[in-house]
């Protein structure tokens, strides 16, 4: 793959400057947003690239697992922070679930589906990152949606409890809606993938010189892997929340 030099990066930055300038001429000031976004993108990605370079060249389990571990903690912290106000401990629960789900998914896909041998960072880290990022979004979306729905529909939940419903029976509708909300982006993406847009991984592989048909097969595996990781994460966090939302006397605590 052709390496991009400093002048190439500078020319790419010009694209941002042009659209920000055009917006300004139209009467919308995006200068600050544009500057911050450009700076953060550049620094974050160059930083990750620099850190990952040695990990990729040395191919050692410890380094790979370390990078994946840090990614999980950041994902758990970011996603958890968003849902922590729902119920104390949700952030920790989400982190633990993300760790378990992404380890399971990554192991299954790399060892059984793809057949990766040994500590190959170029498979493990990108795939792990995609699983984590998506599962984090799905998990925090599900948790937030369920929490908000149950709070909003408190009357309905208690009407069901009052007629003898168990907590699971009383929250079947909020749970269904939360799971749908969490999985709809992935399910929609599976419908249009390849037709309306080429996904990032496939694009990346083709840029890297891979034959499109081979890249397509990877993308199929990735879509199934994402649905599994997102769905399992959402279901586990929802079951955890549902259990914690009621006490032993089946009283709603949210």
């Amino acid at each position: 793959m052709i390496d991009i030099g400093p002048s190439g990066l500078a020319l790419a930055t010009l694209l941002v400057a042009v659209v920000v300038g055009f917006a300004l001429a139209t009467g919308v000031n995006l200068i600050k947003d544009g500057l911050v976004a450009t700076a953060r993108t550049t620094l974050q990605l160059l930083g990750v690239g620099l850190i990952l370079n040695p990990v990729f060249s040395h191919e050692r389990w410890l380094w790979i697992v370390g990078v994946l571990g840090v990614m999980t903690l950041v994902a758990g912290w970011t996603g958890g922070r968003r849902v922590e106000r729902a119920l104390r401990g949700t952030g920790v629960a989400l982190t633990v679930i993300l760790l378990a789900v992404s380890a399971l998914t990554l192991a299954y896909v790399t060892q059984l589906v793809v057949g990766v041998e040994g500590p190959q960072a170029r498979y493990l880290i990108p795939l792990g990152g995609i699983i984590l990022g998506n599962a984090m979004t799905a998990g925090s979306l599900a948790a937030q949606r369920f929490h908000d729905d149950v709070r909003e529909q408190r009357g309905r939940v208690e009407a069901a409890l009052g007629l003898g419903a168990s907590p699971a029976q009383a929250t079947v509708r909020p749970l269904r809606r939360a799971l749908r909300a969490a999985l709809t982006p992935t399910l929609n993406a599976m419908l249009i993938v390849g037709i309306v847009k080429l996904p990032g991984v496939m694009t990346g592989q083709m840029l890297g010189g891979a034959e499109p048909f081979r890249a397509a097969k990877y993308q199929i595996v990735i879509m199934f892997m994402l649905l599994f990781g997102d769905g399992l994460t959402a279901l586990l966090i929802l079951r955890w929340l549902r259990a914690r939302a009621f006490n032993a006397a089946w009283q709603l605590r949210l």
Partner: protein
């Protein structure tokens, strides 16, 4: 056997719920198969009494006994299958269900099925003569309240806790509904505790009534006497006077 007994029962603010009047030391007693109307001004804690009885809320101190056992001694699922609470604001239990779906949903929670004739009978008992295949979302507020009541009747409760079941009904319809309900309860041997702000409801139900005023229980009085304003206690008389003024 006792249907319901509160002994020095107190109630605190509920976690996550609306702040409700905090009261202590309530005493209340009702024979099994009997009917009792709890009257009082809104916000006075009437609903909380019902919530204690089906353990949607916990008593702070004192004892709450339902159907011969302390509420805390019942396995919670069993208590709530025997002692049903129907809230003031009727709720749909399904997203797009028909009347039949609404009536069957809580039966299904218990693994029970019901044929159409049983569902029709439940609707008839509350005077809601509508086809079972009618979408529940099309019901008016008053009809929805009756559907919620029919849903509870179809579950064959032993104790029925009703929060303002006549709130959305005019005086005549309320009297007719409570007449049917009282007859049904006596026939089935169901214990009935009903919360209302309308003294007339106690007379319509041919039940005893207590008045809950500022955390204190007055009574029981025969419902007919309360409805007629025939009470000596000045606090209760003042409450009845304020209700009569509102009605006028």
């Amino acid at each position: 056997m006792r249907g319901v007994r509160l002994t020095r029962a107190g109630l605190g603010a509920e976690p996550g719920g609306e702040a409700e009047l905090v009261f202590a030391g309530l005493d209340l007693s009702l024979e099994r198969g009997g009917a009792l109307v709890v009257l009082g001004p809104s916000g006075g804690g009437k609903t909380s009494v019902l919530r204690l009885l089906n353990r949607l809320a916990n008593a702070e101190g004192g004892a709450v006994e339902v159907l011969g056992r302390a509420v805390t001694a019942w396995p919670i699922g069993e208590l709530r299958r025997r002692a049903l609470f129907v809230p003031q604001v009727a709720q749909l239990l399904t997203d797009e269900g028909t009347l039949a779906d609404e009536l069957r949903a809580p039966l299904a929670w218990r693994g029970r099925a019901a044929d159409d004739s049983a569902l029709q009978a439940a609707l008839q008992a509350v005077g809601l003569e509508l086809p079972l295949e009618r979408p529940a979302r099309e019901l008016s507020g008053g009809q929805l309240g009756r559907l919620a009541l029919a849903r509870a009747l179809a579950l064959e409760p032993e104790l029925l806790l009703l929060d303002e079941p006549t709130g959305a009904l005019d005086v005549r319809t309320a009297r007719e509904l409570l007449g049917r309900l009282g007859a049904w309860a006596r026939e089935q041997g169901v214990t009935l505790v009903l919360v209302s702000h309308r003294p007339q409801d106690a007379a319509s139900l041919e039940a005893q009534a207590v008045v809950l005023l500022e955390g204190r229980i007055y009574g029981p009085f025969p419902g007919v006497e309360l409805a007629a304003g025939d009470v000596d206690d000045p606090a209760v008389a003042a409450f009845l006077g304020s209700v009569a003024e509102e009605g006028a």
